[in-house]
């Protein structure tokens, strides 16, 4: 009887700890087993205040909308008007961010060049130098000037349409890159002047300058070598955007590229990706304010990257004061990364479509973040380029739709006044009034 009575007592439900979640415990066990931190690709996966926390207000009695599909809403953008004698002119305000050959296959780089060119925009090299596939298929190519200087040479500098001096990256402000030995095949090793198969480390600082005063001289050198023709971008991670933007302008940048913490990387420590930097949403207004304080807003153009996924994100970035948005991860997805068609192979790698981020291992079933010839051959650059073109076109149409709804004849006419915020955090970070109010935290004159 006593035992029967005990079985009738309701039991406490098993409760998983919010602090020590299954994911956290799995990482503790993995760390305990291996003695090495987790390395992965991509950007921050944690939930962050983002563009979904902003809405457009649209037109109403006080605002006059433009007719969708019929009335003109332009999307062109000019980059590099400050000093360069040959600024870049793009049809759409969405560029393809820097991704290296080495991190990506040659086919993937070709696909990015093809898609970007068909859509009338630029693509960007990465930490491995310029490949012929990329130059040949990119109408407008931005050449990254990185701390490692892998493959750097003055001929490619002159063959580029713009130069991007990379100071920081949103996924890892203050960190250098790594490319593990699995991806250092003969061609990658030759381009980087490294032994084949070793784990490659990229420096986190430039080897021949250390601060904004030096950078000003470095930019002078780059301009003299290229005859003052090329726009010079300075890319910073989303760390201290007001000061970083100010110093980039002081150093002579034509364009500032600002990359928030959702921006991807080929391979970095997970702890770095998830715990360093600021959300993209929090960076934009600070950078714009820096440009405004210097009287350089629209004279030095601002490109924002890090978690841009749709035309709505693009429109919001522009409304907050940027001149263009840039995509990396989204472009990879568009050409086939993490596609469910490879689900069985993702499962075999211990993951699932959408979650695959071991890009550094070089075993990407989609043939994108790999140097394995058999895997890379799975990606048809022509078809993948077409998909990217389509995606860029959709993003542009979406941004135009939203701009027209706000009564704007150019996407650059979008402004903060067109937006409201859904959360206090987004209101504070973007300095956009909370929906239903005319207030945001920190609004001047409000005392909060």
């Amino acid at each position: 009887m006593a035992d029967d009575h005990k079985s009738d007592i309701p039991r406490t439900m098993p409760i998983q700890s919010a602090t020590f979640s299954q994911e956290v415990n799995a990482e503790i066990r993995r760390a305990a087993a291996t003695g090495i931190y987790d390395i992965r690709g991509g950007g921050a996966k944690r939930k962050l205040p983002h563009f979904d926390d902003l809405l457009f207000l649209g037109a109403s009695m006080s605002r006059y909308p433009l007719e969708g599909y019929r009335e003109r809403c332009d999307t062109d953008v000019v980059l590099g008007t400050r000093f360069a004698s040959k600024p870049i002119r793009l049809d759409i305000p969405i560029t393809i961010a820097g991704m290296s050959f080495g991190a990506l296959s040659g086919q993937a780089k070709e696909a990015l060049g093809r898609g970007a060119s068909m859509a009338g925009t630029s693509t960007t090299t990465g930490d491995g130098g310029m490949t012929e596939e990329e130059r040949g298929h990119s109408r407008t190519l931005v050449y990254q000037y990185l701390p490692s200087r892998y493959g750097m040479n003055p001929d490619d500098l002159r063959r580029a349409d713009a130069i991007e001096v990379v100071v920081g990256q949103g996924a890892k402000p203050g960190g250098g890159g790594m490319l593990l030995g699995q991806k250092i095949n003969a061609r990658v090793a030759q381009m980087r002047n490294l032994p084949e198969g070793i784990d490659q480390r990229s420096a986190c600082r430039h080897p021949d300058w250390t601060g904004p005063d030096d950078l000003e001289i470095k930019i002078l050198e780059l301009r003299e070598i290229t005859g003052w023709e090329k726009p010079i971008y300075v890319k910073v991670g989303g760390a201290r955007p007001y000061f970083d933007t100010t110093l980039a302008v002081k150093a002579g940048a034509d364009v500032v590229v600002l990359d928030g913490m959702q921006g991807g990387t080929a391979a970095t420590q997970d702890v770095f990706i998830e715990h360093v930097g600021q959300p993209t949403l929090a960076c934009i207004r600070q950078a714009v304010r820096a440009l405004q304080d210097l009287g350089m807003h629209r004279k030095v153009q601002l490109i924002v990257s890090g978690g841009i996924r749709s035309g709505a994100d693009v429109a919001k970035v522009l409304a907050l004061g940027a001149d263009a948005a840039s995509i990396g991860t989204a472009a990879m997805v568009a050409i086939g990364d993490n596609d469910p068609r490879w689900e069985a192979e993702y499962n075999a790698l211990g993951t699932t479509a959408g979650a695959y981020d071991d890009w550094h291992e070089g075993r990407d079933p989609a043939g994108i973040s790999t140097q394995d010839p058999a895997l890379a051959a799975r990606l048809d650059p022509v078809e993948a380029g077409r998909r990217l073109r389509n995606y860029l076109k959709v993003m542009t149409l979406e941004a135009q739709t939203l701009a027209r709804a706000c009564g704007k004849s150019h996407v650059h006419n979008l402004e903060p006044e067109d937006l409201c915020a859904l959360t206090l955090e987004a209101a504070a970070m973007a300095q956009i009034p909370l929906a239903g109010t005319d207030w945001y935290p920190g609004k001047p004159g409000t005392g909060y």
């Binding site: 200087r149 500098l157 593990l180 070793i198 080897p207 021949d208 003299e224 070598i225």
Partner: protein, 231 residues
């Protein structure tokens, strides 16, 4: 020899003139033996950068940052001292400095010969990728940091952390080495190394006995990530 007064005509005019030499040379597909003398450099930055022709340029005086940066083919002779980053990312050709060099001399250089008759400061040969550097005097700390390939010859002493995180570059030092950086070790000087060293010294116009040098290079312990190497 043609004379260019930098103080009077400015940097842009200098490079328009010198870069035009490259264009002419390519069109003519023949050697252009024109020699240039730059006077009144007054420590200016980025003098004679991005040259791409087999011309000879002599700078009469000291320069600022990045003198002869990204040089190809040209011979640049500095009759003075140079600021940071002389011959950075040099591809080919020769750069000779009669005086001392500041930080980052020959940084990321991919080819050619850099000769420094005086001393070189810290990070000489940082991330070098095939360049040959010969320093008649001493080099400062962290020289040949992450050096990938090429040769660094130091006829004097080397500062702290020589060759830290080095890859496949060869380091030859005649004097004392204050300390070696991570993964940099002394290596056997074999006959082929003595030949390389002899050739470099001859090309640099420096009289020194190769037998007096010691060779340093990578232990290759950092080539594959190992948690025990992190500190």
């Amino acid at each position: 020899m043609q004379r260019f007064d930098l103080g009077e005509n400015g940097l842009r005019a200098l490079h328009k003139t010198l870069h035009a030499q490259a264009a002419q040379t390519k069109q003519a597909a023949q050697t252009n033996e024109t020699a240039w003398e730059i006077v009144n450099p007054k420590g200016s930055h980025a003098i004679a950068v991005g040259l791409d022709a087999p011309i000879e340029v002599t700078v009469r005086g000291s320069t600022g940052y990045y003198c002869a940066g990204m040089n190809k083919q040209a011979t640049v002779h500095v009759d003075g001292s140079v600021g940071p980053g002389v011959a950075e990312n040099m591809m080919s050709g020769t750069v000779i400095v009669e005086g001392d060099a500041s930080q980052y001399a020959g940084a990321t250089g991919r080819g050619g010969l850099l000769v420094i008759k005086g001393n070189a400061s810290s990070r000489c040969g940082i991330s070098m990728k095939g360049i040959d550097i010969v320093v008649q005097g001493n080099v400062g700390h962290m020289s040949a940091f992450m050096a990938q390939s090429g040769n660094l010859v130091v006829c004097g002493d080397a500062g702290e952390a020589l060759g830290d995180s080095i890859y496949e570059a060869r380091l030859f030092v005649r004097g004392k080495v204050k300390s070696l950086g991570a993964d940099c070790i002394e290596k056997e000087m074999r006959p082929e190394h003595l030949e390389i060293l002899k050739d470099l010294l001859e090309r640099a116009g420096i009289e020194a006995d190769p037998a007096e040098f010691r060779r340093y290079g990578s232990a290759r312990e950092l080539y594959h990530f190992n948690i025990d190497n992190a500190y």
